[in-house]
């Protein structure tokens, strides 16, 4: 599909679907072709008709979008529009919320992650996540980074491993170094790897969380407003890092800041109140010439 579909046909649809009225005022209809964005890259994640309910609350309504690999996809929209919910569907973190029910498909490299028999451990190893507020474990910097591989048994460090000669301290060292370097934190912490991670500044903690995520060697990195709790300088570092990571990883980032979306992302999806995806396109197109009036209003600050 392409966006050059005629607008008139859908605008004149009379079945009422997608049209809601508030206090007698007709709200602009969401058109499917606004969200059908084609890219050059291979599709990493294909989301099809995704619905999320929290109890009676319909948080996400029939969202479909293709996320291309090795690029940055930004999700923007006002508070409560479902963008974080959407993000948490991509590695099934919503499973952890009892009241949440998810319908639809999310295909990761062509395989639906919502079918039976999906190994959540394997899924989350491939689809990593960085949270809004930095949440390092109350352990040393080194232990934070090597936590994932250790728990997955990729690196053996325990007493038993040492006794049987299977411990690989060099490999662990190497992994910690590589991950921290990739997260642009190595130079700042190389001399204090055994210090508690809670002693780092907020920006350093967030980069440590990114390093921790990179250490399990993911293919996709989901970021939920990764810089919203940070000062401008730390934010700039995180943004540089995101752009840098897109060379090797597929990055999906939720953000409140439209400037941030414009700076770092290749394509942008706009969610608006009610849990619907209104428009999804190249970032430049979204910010310069959006199809939807509501998106234009939101971006120019008239709405949301």
């Amino acid at each position: 599909m392409s966006q050059t579909d005629t607008a008139e046909t859908t605008a004149n649809r009379t079945d009422g679907e997608g049209v809601s009225t508030t206090a007698g005022e007709t709200v602009e209809e969401t058109r499917p072709e606004w969200t059908c964005h084609e890219t050059d890259g291979e599709t990493k994640l294909a989301v099809g008709d995704l619905d999320v309910h929290y109890g009676d609350d319909h948080a996400l309504k029939g969202v479909s979008m293709d996320i291309p690999e090795e690029s940055v996809t930004a999700l923007i929209g006002p508070s409560g529009c479902g963008k974080s919910t959407f993000l948490r569907c991509l590695n099934r973190m919503n499973d952890r919320i009892r009241a949440a029910s998810v319908d639809g498909t999310v295909e990761f490299d062509g395989e639906n992650i919502y079918q039976d028999g999906v190994d959540l451990v394997e899924l989350r190893k491939r689809v990593g996540m960085v949270f809004q507020s930095p949440n390092p474990f109350p352990k040393s910097i080194r232990e934070n980074v090597s936590y994932g591989p250790r728990k997955h048994g990729d690196i053996e460090t325990g007493l038993l491993a040492r006794l049987t000669g299977r411990a690989e301290p060099d490999r662990e060292e190497d992994l910690v170094k590589r991950s921290l370097e990739r997260a642009a934190l190595w130079e700042e912490v190389r001399d204090r790897l055994d210090d508690n991670a809670l002693g780092l500044s907020g920006g350093q903690q967030q980069r440590l969380c990114i390093a921790r995520c990179l250490a399990v060697d993911p293919e996709v990195i989901l970021m939920d407003e990764p810089a919203s709790a940070l000062d401008p300088i730390a934010t700039a570092k995180i943004e540089d890092l995101i752009e840098d990571l897109a060379e090797d990883y597929t990055v999906v980032v939720v953000t409140h800041s439209m400037q941030q979306a414009a700076r770092v992302s290749d394509q942008t999806a706009v969610f608006l109140t009610g849990g619907e995806l209104v428009e999804y396109d190249d970032t430049q197109k979204i910010f310069e010439d959006p199809e939807s009036q509501r998106v234009e209003d939101y971006i120019s600050g008239k709405f949301g």
Partner: protein, 522 residues
Amino acid sequence: MSRATRTALVRDDRTAYEAAAGAAVGISGIVFVVGLATLLGVVGIDDPVAGLELSVLFGVVLLALGVTVVGFGMASRLGYVDAAPQPSAGIVAAAAFTGIWFAVGAAVSGAAGIGTAGRLAVGAVLGGSAFAVTAFPREDVGSTVPVGAVAGLCGLSLVVGVIGPGWEQALVGYNATLFGDTVVPVVVLFTSLVTGWSAAKAYGGFGARGRNVGAYVLIYLVVGSILTVLVGLVAFVTVRGLPGLFGGFSVGGASLVSWPFLTNGAGLTADVAGVFPALLGTVWLVIGAVLFAVPTGVGAAVFLSEYAEQGRFTGAVEVATNGLWSTPSIVFGLFGAAFLIPRFGNQKSLIAGMLTLGFMLLPLVLITSREAILAVPDEYRDASAALGVSKWKTIRSVVLPAAIPGIATGVILGVGRIAGETAPILLTMGGGVLPGKSAAPDVLGGFQLSGSPPFVSNPALLEATSALPYQLYALITAGLSGNIENPQEFAWGLALTLLLVVLVFYAVGIATRYYFRRKLHQ
């Protein structure tokens, strides 16, 4: 806008008024401390100080304080000093002084031989006037005059000797007598507390600042007295227990340190009777109870907070555990006697005691562990889950380490309680009153292997064993007799040993908590 009261933003140098009020607060504090010392019996109320009996001196000082406090109020009321009193001293102060003056009126009229109705009437009149004097005039009068009057009356009766060292009063209807050396300190403590409060208010210039300073003085004096009582309690046991504990103690010689009270039994052959069997019994008892209760309690807490759905079931379990923790220990003892003893050789045994105390410890470990686990931020669990780490591994390597300080706190509190428990031991494991050294439980050396089930046995666990609180109780009820040279000294030494054992367990627990807290945050 102009109705708000204003005082100087920058206060001048200390005025003579403030200095005097500060001195009055200080003197009240000193009187309070000395009063506490007399109450605890450190000094007698008839000891001569500066040529006067202490109680008379108290009277003089309190009288002077009362007059001074009224003087502060008047100086402020007549505008000689820069103060910011509020329109009234407030309903709380008024209610307090009503109660105080009602009691004074009833007591004084009773001493004068007036009947019950008359006493109530006098009390009501005085209480009512105190209410009026406190509530209706401006704060500087309301919070000084009733105080001054109380202090004056009490001081005067001490000076004149209406109550004093020789005073005693039989309480009609009770089989008891009040003596001067209890009543005088109580009166002194109370009076110095109110004069200290009032003088502190004057020091702060009344108003919000004055009330603040007054509250400070009240709180510090009350906290100080509580700490004094606690320290006094420990000091009392320590002073009485030291001779027994260190009887025959010597450093040097063949065994470097010789501490017969802790290493001997109480048998006929021992030259210095000791508490070794009971001491070892208590130590093993606590270790056994902790080994039983901590894994089960923490395991149950993990299930309840991480796996079970929060709802009616977990709520019911919570109520039940809280109830279990407040269950009287004799009930646990009875359970142990009726249920455990028939299953462990039909006699009182160390293991029955361990398990009974373990059951007692279990609820507290469960409650505190659950709180500690619930207090671990969900972000850690989310972060771990997002890395693809399974739930159990997350609990083991993130949740439990973060919860250890809280769990340790629960175990510390619980050990303090069970180490001193007497009733369950009495029913489930109590051995001899004065066991000889051979009666000490040899748990580590007692394990035996055998060819038939259960393959491992330990007779030490199945024998009746003494423990410190039980031995103390048995000594007291047995009349402190027997083959001990100085039973009083022995019993106090035993009490001090028990105190020290509990403190040592506390120290271990606190060190554990400190170690893990440091590890988490540094």
